[in-house]
Symmetry: C2
Subunit: 313 residues, 2 copies
Amino acid sequence: MSDSSPIFSKITLIGAGLIGSSIAHASRRGGLANHISAYIPRDETRARAAKAGFADSLHADIASAVAGADLVVLATPIGTFGEITKQAAPHLMPDAILTDVGSVKGAVVRDVSPYVPAGVHFIPAHPVAGTEESGPESGFAELFDGRWCILTPLPGTDPAAVQKLKDFWRRCGSDVEIMDVQHHDLVLAITSHVPHLIAYNIVGTAADLETVTRSEVIKYSASGFRDFTRIAASDPTMWRDIFLNNRDAVLEMLGRFNEDLAALQRAVRWGDGEALFNLFTRTRAIRRSIIEAGQDTAEPNFGRLSRQRRVRR
Amino acid sequence: MSDSSPIFSKITLIGAGLIGSSIAHASRRGGLANHISAYIPRDETRARAAKAGFADSLHADIASAVAGADLVVLATPIGTFGEITKQAAPHLMPDAILTDVGSVKGAVVRDVSPYVPAGVHFIPAHPVAGTEESGPESGFAELFDGRWCILTPLPGTDPAAVQKLKDFWRRCGSDVEIMDVQHHDLVLAITSHVPHLIAYNIVGTAADLETVTRSEVIKYSASGFRDFTRIAASDPTMWRDIFLNNRDAVLEMLGRFNEDLAALQRAVRWGDGEALFNLFTRTRAIRRSIIEAGQDTAEPNFGRLSRQRRVRR
Protein backbone atom coordinates (compact mmCIF):
# COMPACT_ATOMS: atom_id res chain seq x y z
CA MET A 1 0.00 0.00 0.00
CA SER A 2 1.33 3.39 -0.90
CA ASP A 3 1.52 5.84 1.98
CA SER A 4 -0.26 8.56 0.05
CA SER A 5 -3.17 6.87 -1.71
CA PRO A 6 -6.65 6.90 -0.14
CA ILE A 7 -7.50 3.83 1.94
CA PHE A 8 -11.24 4.25 1.62
CA SER A 9 -13.51 5.48 -1.12
CA LYS A 10 -16.07 6.90 1.28
CA ILE A 11 -15.91 7.26 5.06
CA THR A 12 -19.17 7.83 6.94
CA LEU A 13 -19.06 9.29 10.41
CA ILE A 14 -22.08 8.48 12.55
CA GLY A 15 -22.01 11.57 14.74
CA ALA A 16 -19.30 14.18 14.52
CA GLY A 17 -18.32 15.54 17.91
CA LEU A 18 -14.74 15.81 19.13
CA ILE A 19 -13.65 12.36 17.93
CA GLY A 20 -15.74 12.16 14.75
CA SER A 21 -14.70 15.58 13.51
CA SER A 22 -11.08 14.88 14.41
CA ILE A 23 -11.21 11.69 12.31
CA ALA A 24 -12.47 13.82 9.42
CA HIS A 25 -9.65 16.34 9.88
CA ALA A 26 -7.03 13.60 10.19
CA SER A 27 -8.43 11.78 7.12
CA ARG A 28 -8.18 14.93 5.07
CA ARG A 29 -4.68 15.66 6.30
CA GLY A 30 -3.58 12.15 5.31
CA GLY A 31 -5.65 11.91 2.11
CA LEU A 32 -7.25 8.76 3.48
CA ALA A 33 -10.62 8.96 1.72
CA ASN A 34 -12.15 10.32 -1.49
CA HIS A 35 -15.29 11.39 0.32
CA ILE A 36 -16.21 12.00 3.95
CA SER A 37 -19.88 12.01 4.89
CA ALA A 38 -21.46 12.48 8.30
CA TYR A 39 -24.83 11.46 9.68
CA ILE A 40 -26.02 14.20 12.06
CA PRO A 41 -29.78 14.04 12.62
CA ARG A 42 -30.14 17.23 14.70
CA ASP A 43 -30.51 20.35 12.52
CA GLU A 44 -28.63 22.61 14.91
CA THR A 45 -25.64 20.27 15.22
CA ARG A 46 -25.61 19.65 11.46
CA ALA A 47 -25.48 23.42 10.88
CA ARG A 48 -22.51 23.68 13.25
CA ALA A 49 -20.78 20.83 11.42
CA ALA A 50 -21.41 22.57 8.11
CA LYS A 51 -19.75 25.69 9.48
CA ALA A 52 -16.78 23.67 10.79
CA GLY A 53 -16.43 22.33 7.25
CA PHE A 54 -14.73 18.99 7.81
CA ALA A 55 -17.12 16.81 5.78
CA ASP A 56 -17.90 16.58 2.06
CA SER A 57 -21.55 15.80 2.76
CA LEU A 58 -23.82 16.04 5.79
CA HIS A 59 -26.94 13.93 6.17
CA ALA A 60 -30.08 14.00 8.27
CA ASP A 61 -30.98 10.46 7.19
CA ILE A 62 -28.78 7.49 7.77
CA ALA A 63 -29.50 5.69 4.46
CA SER A 64 -27.99 8.41 2.28
CA ALA A 65 -25.14 8.95 4.76
CA VAL A 66 -23.86 5.37 4.59
CA ALA A 67 -24.70 4.67 0.92
CA GLY A 68 -21.54 3.47 -0.82
CA ALA A 69 -19.37 3.85 2.29
CA ASP A 70 -16.56 1.33 2.72
CA LEU A 71 -15.84 2.62 6.25
CA VAL A 72 -18.59 3.51 8.72
CA VAL A 73 -17.52 4.87 12.12
CA LEU A 74 -19.91 4.95 15.08
CA ALA A 75 -18.93 8.12 16.96
CA THR A 76 -21.99 8.96 19.09
CA PRO A 77 -22.34 8.16 22.82
CA ILE A 78 -22.12 4.37 23.14
CA GLY A 79 -25.66 3.99 24.48
CA THR A 80 -26.96 4.77 20.98
CA PHE A 81 -24.87 2.26 19.01
CA GLY A 82 -27.37 -0.63 18.97
CA GLU A 83 -30.31 1.37 17.65
CA ILE A 84 -28.16 3.21 15.10
CA THR A 85 -26.65 -0.03 13.77
CA LYS A 86 -30.11 -1.50 13.45
CA GLN A 87 -31.20 1.50 11.35
CA ALA A 88 -28.05 1.57 9.24
CA ALA A 89 -27.83 -2.20 8.63
CA PRO A 90 -30.07 -2.44 5.54
CA HIS A 91 -28.07 0.30 3.85
CA LEU A 92 -24.55 -0.92 4.54
CA MET A 93 -22.48 -1.92 1.54
CA PRO A 94 -21.25 -5.54 1.37
CA ASP A 95 -17.60 -5.78 2.43
CA ALA A 96 -17.81 -2.42 4.26
CA ILE A 97 -15.95 -2.06 7.55
CA LEU A 98 -18.12 -1.00 10.47
CA THR A 99 -16.14 0.32 13.42
CA ASP A 100 -16.61 2.59 16.43
CA VAL A 101 -14.65 4.85 18.76
CA GLY A 102 -16.32 3.96 22.07
CA SER A 103 -14.38 3.85 25.35
CA VAL A 104 -16.02 0.52 26.27
CA LYS A 105 -15.79 -2.54 24.05
CA GLY A 106 -17.73 -5.39 25.72
CA ALA A 107 -21.06 -3.55 25.76
CA VAL A 108 -20.50 -2.30 22.22
CA VAL A 109 -19.95 -5.83 20.94
CA ARG A 110 -23.07 -6.93 22.83
CA ASP A 111 -25.20 -4.09 21.41
CA VAL A 112 -23.89 -3.86 17.83
CA SER A 113 -23.12 -7.47 16.80
CA PRO A 114 -26.74 -8.66 16.54
CA TYR A 115 -27.43 -6.10 13.81
CA VAL A 116 -24.30 -6.45 11.67
CA PRO A 117 -25.29 -7.86 8.26
CA ALA A 118 -23.40 -10.82 6.84
CA GLY A 119 -20.53 -9.60 4.68
CA VAL A 120 -19.96 -6.43 6.74
CA HIS A 121 -16.76 -6.46 8.82
CA PHE A 122 -17.47 -5.23 12.34
CA ILE A 123 -14.20 -4.26 14.08
CA PRO A 124 -14.54 -2.48 17.44
CA ALA A 125 -11.92 0.21 18.01
CA HIS A 126 -10.98 2.81 20.59
CA PRO A 127 -8.68 5.73 19.84
CA VAL A 128 -7.27 6.60 23.27
CA ALA A 129 -7.22 10.36 22.81
CA GLY A 130 -9.40 13.32 23.60
CA THR A 131 -9.83 16.63 25.31
CA GLU A 132 -12.47 17.91 27.72
CA GLU A 133 -14.20 19.68 24.84
CA SER A 134 -17.05 18.32 22.76
CA GLY A 135 -19.03 19.22 19.65
CA PRO A 136 -18.22 19.47 15.93
CA GLU A 137 -16.02 22.57 16.40
CA SER A 138 -13.69 20.86 18.87
CA GLY A 139 -11.97 18.42 16.50
CA PHE A 140 -8.53 18.82 14.92
CA ALA A 141 -6.27 16.72 12.74
CA GLU A 142 -3.50 16.17 15.29
CA LEU A 143 -5.61 14.70 18.09
CA PHE A 144 -4.44 11.14 17.42
CA ASP A 145 -0.77 11.88 16.77
CA GLY A 146 1.39 9.75 19.05
CA ARG A 147 -1.63 8.35 20.88
CA TRP A 148 -2.69 4.69 20.87
CA CYS A 149 -5.66 3.22 19.05
CA ILE A 150 -6.82 -0.14 20.39
CA LEU A 151 -8.59 -2.56 18.04
CA THR A 152 -10.53 -5.46 19.58
CA PRO A 153 -11.46 -7.64 16.58
CA LEU A 154 -13.65 -10.63 17.37
CA PRO A 155 -12.44 -14.17 16.55
CA GLY A 156 -12.99 -14.99 12.89
CA THR A 157 -12.77 -11.41 11.63
CA ASP A 158 -11.28 -11.06 8.13
CA PRO A 159 -7.54 -10.30 8.66
CA ALA A 160 -7.46 -8.10 5.53
CA ALA A 161 -10.19 -5.87 6.96
CA VAL A 162 -8.35 -5.62 10.29
CA GLN A 163 -5.15 -4.70 8.44
CA LYS A 164 -6.98 -2.01 6.49
CA LEU A 165 -8.34 -0.44 9.68
CA LYS A 166 -4.88 -0.64 11.27
CA ASP A 167 -3.42 1.20 8.29
CA PHE A 168 -6.13 3.80 8.56
CA TRP A 169 -5.40 4.55 12.21
CA ARG A 170 -1.66 4.59 11.65
CA ARG A 171 -2.10 7.18 8.94
CA CYS A 172 -4.31 9.16 11.33
CA GLY A 173 -1.15 9.43 13.45
CA SER A 174 -1.82 6.66 15.97
CA ASP A 175 0.08 3.63 17.15
CA VAL A 176 -2.18 0.60 16.93
CA GLU A 177 -2.59 -2.20 19.46
CA ILE A 178 -4.71 -5.33 19.19
CA MET A 179 -6.42 -6.37 22.41
CA ASP A 180 -9.04 -8.70 23.77
CA VAL A 181 -12.45 -7.06 24.41
CA GLN A 182 -12.61 -7.86 28.13
CA HIS A 183 -9.02 -6.87 28.76
CA HIS A 184 -9.60 -3.54 27.02
CA ASP A 185 -12.44 -2.75 29.39
CA LEU A 186 -10.32 -3.54 32.44
CA VAL A 187 -7.37 -1.46 31.20
CA LEU A 188 -9.57 1.52 30.43
CA ALA A 189 -11.40 1.21 33.75
CA ILE A 190 -8.17 2.03 35.59
CA THR A 191 -6.53 4.40 33.08
CA SER A 192 -9.63 6.39 32.23
CA HIS A 193 -12.98 5.50 33.77
CA VAL A 194 -12.11 5.44 37.48
CA PRO A 195 -9.93 8.58 37.13
CA HIS A 196 -12.91 10.36 35.60
CA LEU A 197 -15.24 9.05 38.30
CA ILE A 198 -13.09 10.30 41.16
CA ALA A 199 -12.50 13.63 39.41
CA TYR A 200 -16.24 14.10 38.99
CA ASN A 201 -16.67 13.05 42.60
CA ILE A 202 -14.22 15.44 44.22
CA VAL A 203 -15.50 18.36 42.19
CA GLY A 204 -19.00 17.49 43.39
CA THR A 205 -17.81 17.16 47.00
CA ALA A 206 -16.09 20.54 46.90
CA ALA A 207 -19.16 22.19 45.39
CA ASP A 208 -21.41 20.88 48.15
CA LEU A 209 -19.45 21.93 51.24
CA GLU A 210 -21.00 24.29 53.76
CA THR A 211 -17.78 25.12 55.63
CA VAL A 212 -15.82 26.20 52.55
CA THR A 213 -17.51 28.48 50.02
CA ARG A 214 -17.59 27.83 46.30
CA SER A 215 -15.75 31.10 45.77
CA GLU A 216 -12.91 29.86 47.99
CA VAL A 217 -12.73 26.57 46.13
CA ILE A 218 -12.36 28.50 42.87
CA LYS A 219 -9.86 31.07 44.17
CA TYR A 220 -7.47 28.53 45.64
CA SER A 221 -7.95 25.83 43.00
CA ALA A 222 -4.42 26.28 41.60
CA SER A 223 -3.13 24.28 44.57
CA GLY A 224 -4.34 21.03 43.01
CA PHE A 225 -8.10 21.01 42.65
CA ARG A 226 -8.19 22.73 39.24
CA ASP A 227 -6.49 19.74 37.58
CA PHE A 228 -9.49 17.57 38.44
CA THR A 229 -11.98 20.06 37.06
CA ARG A 230 -10.63 19.65 33.53
CA ILE A 231 -11.54 15.97 33.43
CA ALA A 232 -14.79 16.70 35.28
CA ALA A 233 -15.76 19.05 32.44
CA SER A 234 -15.98 16.18 29.94
CA ASP A 235 -19.19 15.45 28.06
CA PRO A 236 -21.91 14.27 30.52
CA THR A 237 -23.84 12.06 28.09
CA MET A 238 -20.76 10.27 26.83
CA TRP A 239 -19.55 9.61 30.36
CA ARG A 240 -22.93 8.53 31.70
CA ASP A 241 -23.01 5.92 28.94
CA ILE A 242 -19.48 4.75 29.72
CA PHE A 243 -20.29 4.09 33.38
CA LEU A 244 -23.59 2.42 32.55
CA ASN A 245 -21.78 0.13 30.10
CA ASN A 246 -18.56 -0.78 31.87
CA ARG A 247 -20.03 -1.39 35.29
CA ASP A 248 -18.23 -4.55 36.33
CA ALA A 249 -14.71 -3.40 35.42
CA VAL A 250 -15.30 0.05 36.94
CA LEU A 251 -16.60 -1.45 40.19
CA GLU A 252 -13.66 -3.85 40.33
CA MET A 253 -11.09 -1.08 39.90
CA LEU A 254 -12.98 1.27 42.20
CA GLY A 255 -12.90 -1.46 44.83
CA ARG A 256 -9.11 -1.52 44.61
CA PHE A 257 -8.95 2.26 44.76
CA ASN A 258 -11.16 2.32 47.87
CA GLU A 259 -9.14 -0.38 49.58
CA ASP A 260 -5.91 1.54 48.99
CA LEU A 261 -7.51 4.82 50.06
CA ALA A 262 -8.67 3.25 53.33
CA ALA A 263 -5.06 2.23 54.04
CA LEU A 264 -3.84 5.72 53.15
CA GLN A 265 -6.51 7.31 55.33
CA ARG A 266 -5.35 5.12 58.21
CA ALA A 267 -1.74 6.22 57.61
CA VAL A 268 -2.86 9.85 57.85
CA ARG A 269 -4.90 9.20 61.00
CA TRP A 270 -2.09 7.38 62.80
CA GLY A 271 0.67 9.66 61.54
CA ASP A 272 2.52 6.93 59.65
CA GLY A 273 4.98 9.23 57.87
CA GLU A 274 7.01 6.35 56.49
CA ALA A 275 4.03 4.81 54.66
CA LEU A 276 3.13 8.20 53.20
CA PHE A 277 6.69 8.95 52.12
CA ASN A 278 7.11 5.53 50.50
CA LEU A 279 3.93 5.85 48.43
CA PHE A 280 4.73 9.43 47.40
CA THR A 281 8.17 8.32 46.21
CA ARG A 282 6.84 5.35 44.21
CA THR A 283 4.26 7.45 42.37
CA ARG A 284 6.93 9.86 41.12
CA ALA A 285 8.49 7.09 39.05
CA ILE A 286 5.22 6.46 37.17
CA ARG A 287 5.09 10.09 36.10
CA ARG A 288 8.62 9.84 34.72
CA SER A 289 7.71 6.72 32.72
CA ILE A 290 4.70 8.45 31.18
CA ILE A 291 6.84 11.39 30.08
CA GLU A 292 9.52 9.04 28.71
CA ALA A 293 6.83 7.17 26.75
CA GLY A 294 5.80 10.44 25.11
CA GLN A 295 2.33 10.33 26.65
CA ASP A 296 2.63 13.67 28.46
CA THR A 297 4.67 16.84 28.43
CA ALA A 298 7.70 17.15 30.71
CA GLU A 299 6.99 20.85 31.24
CA PRO A 300 5.93 21.73 34.81
CA ASN A 301 2.20 22.32 35.30
CA PHE A 302 1.53 20.69 31.88
CA GLY A 303 3.21 23.73 30.31
CA ARG A 304 0.53 26.10 31.54
CA LEU A 305 3.36 28.14 33.04
CA SER A 306 5.15 28.79 29.80
CA ARG A 307 2.37 31.20 28.94
CA GLN A 308 2.63 32.72 32.40
CA ARG A 309 6.38 33.22 32.22
CA ARG A 310 7.67 36.23 30.45
CA VAL A 311 11.27 35.18 30.67
CA ARG A 312 12.49 31.62 30.95
CA ARG A 313 15.68 30.94 32.76
CA MET B 1 5.10 53.56 49.55
CA SER B 2 6.57 53.87 46.10
CA ASP B 3 5.97 50.91 43.85
CA SER B 4 9.61 50.69 42.87
CA SER B 5 11.55 51.13 46.12
CA PRO B 6 12.74 48.06 48.05
CA ILE B 7 10.43 46.93 50.84
CA PHE B 8 13.12 45.09 52.78
CA SER B 9 16.77 45.72 53.39
CA LYS B 10 17.62 42.02 53.58
CA ILE B 11 15.45 39.00 52.90
CA THR B 12 16.60 35.64 54.25
CA LEU B 13 15.20 32.47 52.77
CA ILE B 14 15.34 29.45 55.04
CA GLY B 15 15.56 26.78 52.38
CA ALA B 16 15.39 27.54 48.69
CA GLY B 17 13.46 24.93 46.76
CA LEU B 18 10.68 25.74 44.30
CA ILE B 19 8.96 28.34 46.49
CA GLY B 20 12.04 29.83 48.15
CA SER B 21 13.93 30.30 44.91
CA SER B 22 10.82 31.70 43.22
CA ILE B 23 10.51 34.28 46.00
CA ALA B 24 14.12 35.27 45.29
CA HIS B 25 13.44 35.58 41.55
CA ALA B 26 10.22 37.56 42.15
CA SER B 27 11.99 39.83 44.66
CA ARG B 28 14.70 40.59 42.15
CA ARG B 29 12.20 41.21 39.40
CA GLY B 30 10.32 43.68 41.61
CA GLY B 31 13.36 45.23 43.28
CA LEU B 32 11.90 44.27 46.65
CA ALA B 33 15.12 43.86 48.65
CA ASN B 34 18.66 45.21 48.74
CA HIS B 35 20.07 41.80 49.61
CA ILE B 36 18.76 38.23 49.40
CA SER B 37 20.43 35.58 51.52
CA ALA B 38 19.57 31.91 51.82
CA TYR B 39 20.28 29.38 54.55
CA ILE B 40 20.99 26.02 52.90
CA PRO B 41 22.85 23.66 55.24
CA ARG B 42 23.47 20.82 52.74
CA ASP B 43 26.62 21.39 50.68
CA GLU B 44 25.22 19.76 47.57
CA THR B 45 22.00 21.81 47.61
CA ARG B 46 23.93 25.00 48.37
CA ALA B 47 26.13 24.36 45.34
CA ARG B 48 23.04 23.91 43.16
CA ALA B 49 21.60 27.16 44.53
CA ALA B 50 24.88 28.93 43.77
CA LYS B 51 24.66 27.72 40.20
CA ALA B 52 21.02 28.87 39.92
CA GLY B 53 22.25 32.29 41.08
CA PHE B 54 19.14 33.75 42.65
CA ALA B 55 20.69 34.81 45.98
CA ASP B 56 23.29 37.43 46.91
CA SER B 57 24.70 35.24 49.67
CA LEU B 58 24.39 31.56 50.61
CA HIS B 59 24.97 30.31 54.13
CA ALA B 60 25.64 26.98 55.78
CA ASP B 61 25.02 28.48 59.23
CA ILE B 62 21.79 30.11 60.24
CA ALA B 63 23.28 32.91 62.35
CA SER B 64 25.08 34.57 59.45
CA ALA B 65 22.13 33.93 57.11
CA VAL B 66 19.59 35.85 59.22
CA ALA B 67 21.96 38.55 60.57
CA GLY B 68 20.44 41.95 59.78
CA ALA B 69 17.45 40.48 57.91
CA ASP B 70 14.18 42.39 58.19
CA LEU B 71 12.29 39.55 56.46
CA VAL B 72 12.94 35.88 57.20
CA VAL B 73 10.96 33.29 55.23
CA LEU B 74 10.66 29.68 56.36
CA ALA B 75 10.56 27.70 53.10
CA THR B 76 11.58 24.16 54.09
CA PRO B 77 9.14 21.26 54.65
CA ILE B 78 6.85 22.31 57.52
CA GLY B 79 8.00 19.51 59.83
CA THR B 80 11.31 21.38 60.26
CA PHE B 81 9.93 24.82 61.17
CA GLY B 82 9.96 24.46 64.97
CA GLU B 83 13.58 23.36 65.24
CA ILE B 84 14.77 25.93 62.70
CA THR B 85 12.97 28.79 64.46
CA LYS B 86 14.53 27.70 67.74
CA GLN B 87 17.99 27.86 66.15
CA ALA B 88 17.38 31.16 64.38
CA ALA B 89 15.68 32.94 67.30
CA PRO B 90 18.76 34.32 69.09
CA HIS B 91 20.01 35.83 65.82
CA LEU B 92 16.78 37.49 64.63
CA MET B 93 16.83 41.27 64.44
CA PRO B 94 14.31 43.18 66.59
CA ASP B 95 11.31 44.29 64.51
CA ALA B 96 12.08 41.68 61.82
CA ILE B 97 9.15 39.90 60.13
CA LEU B 98 9.26 36.12 60.38
CA THR B 99 6.97 34.40 57.90
CA ASP B 100 6.64 31.05 56.16
CA VAL B 101 5.20 29.49 52.99
CA GLY B 102 3.75 26.30 54.45
CA SER B 103 0.53 24.72 53.12
CA VAL B 104 -0.74 24.18 56.67
CA LYS B 105 -1.12 27.00 59.15
CA GLY B 106 -2.44 25.56 62.45
CA ALA B 107 0.52 23.23 62.98
CA VAL B 108 2.97 25.95 61.92
CA VAL B 109 1.57 28.36 64.51
CA ARG B 110 1.77 25.58 67.09
CA ASP B 111 5.39 24.73 66.24
CA VAL B 112 6.86 28.17 65.55
CA SER B 113 5.14 30.52 68.02
CA PRO B 114 6.89 29.23 71.17
CA TYR B 115 10.28 30.24 69.78
CA VAL B 116 9.49 33.68 68.34
CA PRO B 117 11.43 36.31 70.33
CA ALA B 118 9.56 39.38 71.65
CA GLY B 119 9.76 42.19 69.13
CA VAL B 120 9.82 39.86 66.11
CA HIS B 121 6.61 39.87 64.05
CA PHE B 122 5.57 36.32 63.20
CA ILE B 123 3.03 36.31 60.35
CA PRO B 124 2.12 32.91 58.87
CA ALA B 125 1.59 32.96 55.12
CA HIS B 126 0.79 30.59 52.27
CA PRO B 127 1.36 31.48 48.62
CA VAL B 128 -1.11 29.20 46.82
CA ALA B 129 1.07 28.41 43.83
CA GLY B 130 3.43 25.70 42.73
CA THR B 131 4.41 23.12 40.20
CA GLU B 132 5.23 19.44 40.58
CA GLU B 133 8.93 20.27 40.43
CA SER B 134 11.20 20.87 43.39
CA GLY B 135 14.74 22.03 44.13
CA PRO B 136 16.63 25.32 43.74
CA GLU B 137 16.61 25.13 39.92
CA SER B 138 12.83 24.92 39.67
CA GLY B 139 11.94 28.45 40.77
CA PHE B 140 11.01 31.37 38.51
CA ALA B 141 9.84 34.94 39.00
CA GLU B 142 6.33 34.52 37.59
CA LEU B 143 5.18 31.65 39.79
CA PHE B 144 3.03 33.91 41.97
CA ASP B 145 1.56 36.10 39.23
CA GLY B 146 -2.22 36.08 39.44
CA ARG B 147 -2.21 33.49 42.23
CA TRP B 148 -3.46 34.08 45.78
CA CYS B 149 -1.31 34.45 48.88
CA ILE B 150 -3.14 33.83 52.15
CA LEU B 151 -1.90 35.53 55.33
CA THR B 152 -3.15 34.22 58.67
CA PRO B 153 -1.91 36.81 61.21
CA LEU B 154 -2.60 35.99 64.86
CA PRO B 155 -4.67 38.36 66.98
CA GLY B 156 -2.55 41.25 68.25
CA THR B 157 -0.06 41.25 65.37
CA ASP B 158 1.30 44.70 64.49
CA PRO B 159 -0.89 45.97 61.60
CA ALA B 160 2.05 47.81 60.04
CA ALA B 161 4.03 44.55 59.78
CA VAL B 162 1.03 42.78 58.20
CA GLN B 163 0.67 45.63 55.72
CA LYS B 164 4.35 45.39 54.83
CA LEU B 165 4.07 41.66 54.13
CA LYS B 166 0.90 42.24 52.09
CA ASP B 167 2.76 44.83 49.99
CA PHE B 168 5.60 42.38 49.52
CA TRP B 169 3.34 39.61 48.20
CA ARG B 170 1.41 42.01 45.97
CA ARG B 171 4.65 43.11 44.40
CA CYS B 172 5.59 39.44 43.94
CA GLY B 173 2.51 39.31 41.67
CA SER B 174 -0.03 37.83 44.08
CA ASP B 175 -3.45 38.81 45.26
CA VAL B 176 -3.51 38.76 49.06
CA GLU B 177 -6.24 37.41 51.33
CA ILE B 178 -6.40 37.49 55.13
CA MET B 179 -7.85 34.36 56.71
CA ASP B 180 -8.27 32.66 60.04
CA VAL B 181 -5.74 29.88 60.72
CA GLN B 182 -8.30 27.08 61.15
CA HIS B 183 -10.34 28.12 58.16
CA HIS B 184 -7.22 28.17 55.99
CA ASP B 185 -6.50 24.57 56.89
CA LEU B 186 -10.03 23.49 55.99
CA VAL B 187 -10.01 25.36 52.67
CA LEU B 188 -6.65 23.90 51.68
CA ALA B 189 -7.70 20.41 52.75
CA ILE B 190 -10.35 20.37 50.02
CA THR B 191 -8.61 22.46 47.35
CA SER B 192 -5.17 20.91 47.68
CA HIS B 193 -4.52 18.21 50.28
CA VAL B 194 -7.33 15.75 49.50
CA PRO B 195 -6.81 16.18 45.73
CA HIS B 196 -3.15 15.29 46.23
CA LEU B 197 -4.05 12.35 48.46
CA ILE B 198 -6.42 10.81 45.93
CA ALA B 199 -4.00 11.46 43.07
CA TYR B 200 -1.21 9.70 44.98
CA ASN B 201 -3.69 6.94 45.78
CA ILE B 202 -4.90 6.17 42.28
CA VAL B 203 -1.38 6.21 40.90
CA GLY B 204 -0.44 3.71 43.59
CA THR B 205 -3.50 1.56 42.84
CA ALA B 206 -2.71 1.48 39.12
CA ALA B 207 0.92 0.58 39.78
CA ASP B 208 -0.05 -2.39 41.96
CA LEU B 209 -2.55 -4.15 39.69
CA GLU B 210 -1.90 -7.70 38.56
CA THR B 211 -4.54 -7.77 35.81
CA VAL B 212 -3.30 -4.66 34.02
CA THR B 213 0.43 -4.22 33.43
CA ARG B 214 2.37 -1.11 34.29
CA SER B 215 3.26 -0.74 30.62
CA GLU B 216 -0.45 -0.66 29.72
CA VAL B 217 -1.15 1.95 32.38
CA ILE B 218 1.57 4.13 30.89
CA LYS B 219 0.61 3.60 27.24
CA TYR B 220 -3.05 4.45 27.71
CA SER B 221 -2.57 7.15 30.34
CA ALA B 222 -3.65 9.95 27.99
CA SER B 223 -7.26 8.89 28.55
CA GLY B 224 -7.27 10.52 31.99
CA PHE B 225 -4.77 8.86 34.30
CA ARG B 226 -1.77 10.98 33.26
CA ASP B 227 -3.37 14.12 34.75
CA PHE B 228 -3.19 12.56 38.21
CA THR B 229 0.45 11.59 37.83
CA ARG B 230 1.54 15.23 37.62
CA ILE B 231 0.23 15.97 41.09
CA ALA B 232 1.47 12.60 42.33
CA ALA B 233 4.98 13.63 41.26
CA SER B 234 5.13 16.39 43.88
CA ASP B 235 7.83 16.43 46.55
CA PRO B 236 7.39 13.44 48.91
CA THR B 237 8.90 15.05 52.03
CA MET B 238 6.86 18.20 51.70
CA TRP B 239 3.65 16.25 51.22
CA ARG B 240 4.34 13.77 54.01
CA ASP B 241 4.70 16.74 56.36
CA ILE B 242 1.48 18.32 55.11
CA PHE B 243 -0.57 15.19 55.82
CA LEU B 244 1.07 14.67 59.20
CA ASN B 245 0.25 18.26 60.13
CA ASN B 246 -3.26 18.81 58.78
CA ARG B 247 -4.72 15.52 59.88
CA ASP B 248 -8.09 16.61 61.23
CA ALA B 249 -9.09 18.80 58.29
CA VAL B 250 -7.85 16.20 55.77
CA LEU B 251 -9.79 13.41 57.48
CA GLU B 252 -12.91 15.56 57.61
CA MET B 253 -12.78 16.39 53.90
CA LEU B 254 -11.79 12.85 52.99
CA GLY B 255 -14.85 11.65 54.90
CA ARG B 256 -17.05 13.81 52.69
CA PHE B 257 -15.26 12.59 49.57
CA ASN B 258 -15.77 8.96 50.61
CA GLU B 259 -19.42 9.49 51.41
CA ASP B 260 -20.05 11.02 48.00
CA LEU B 261 -18.00 8.33 46.27
CA ALA B 262 -20.08 5.62 47.94
CA ALA B 263 -23.23 7.22 46.52
CA LEU B 264 -21.62 7.48 43.08
CA GLN B 265 -20.48 3.86 43.25
CA ARG B 266 -24.04 2.86 44.07
CA ALA B 267 -25.32 4.86 41.06
CA VAL B 268 -22.89 2.95 38.83
CA ARG B 269 -23.87 -0.40 40.33
CA TRP B 270 -27.61 0.19 39.94
CA GLY B 271 -27.35 1.90 36.58
CA ASP B 272 -28.76 5.24 37.77
CA GLY B 273 -27.99 7.20 34.62
CA GLU B 274 -29.88 10.27 35.80
CA ALA B 275 -27.79 10.65 38.96
CA LEU B 276 -24.61 10.28 36.91
CA PHE B 277 -25.73 12.76 34.27
CA ASN B 278 -26.78 15.33 36.87
CA LEU B 279 -23.45 15.23 38.69
CA PHE B 280 -21.46 15.34 35.43
CA THR B 281 -23.41 18.42 34.34
CA ARG B 282 -22.94 20.27 37.65
CA THR B 283 -19.19 19.74 37.69
CA ARG B 284 -18.80 21.37 34.27
CA ALA B 285 -19.96 24.69 35.72
CA ILE B 286 -17.17 24.69 38.32
CA ARG B 287 -14.56 24.33 35.58
CA ARG B 288 -16.00 27.34 33.78
CA SER B 289 -15.87 29.42 36.98
CA ILE B 290 -12.21 28.55 37.52
CA ILE B 291 -11.33 29.61 33.99
CA GLU B 292 -13.34 32.83 34.35
CA ALA B 293 -11.52 33.58 37.61
CA GLY B 294 -8.19 33.33 35.75
CA GLN B 295 -7.07 30.32 37.80
CA ASP B 296 -6.60 27.99 34.83
CA THR B 297 -6.17 28.09 31.07
CA ALA B 298 -9.23 27.74 28.83
CA GLU B 299 -7.20 25.80 26.27
CA PRO B 300 -8.24 22.15 25.92
CA ASN B 301 -5.96 19.64 27.65
CA PHE B 302 -4.34 22.52 29.61
CA GLY B 303 -2.86 23.70 26.31
CA ARG B 304 -0.73 20.56 25.95
CA LEU B 305 -2.27 20.19 22.51
CA SER B 306 -1.08 23.52 21.17
CA ARG B 307 2.36 21.98 21.00
CA GLN B 308 0.90 18.90 19.33
CA ARG B 309 -1.00 20.86 16.70
CA ARG B 310 0.87 22.00 13.68
CA VAL B 311 -2.00 24.05 12.34
CA ARG B 312 -4.74 25.56 14.43
CA ARG B 313 -8.11 26.10 12.91
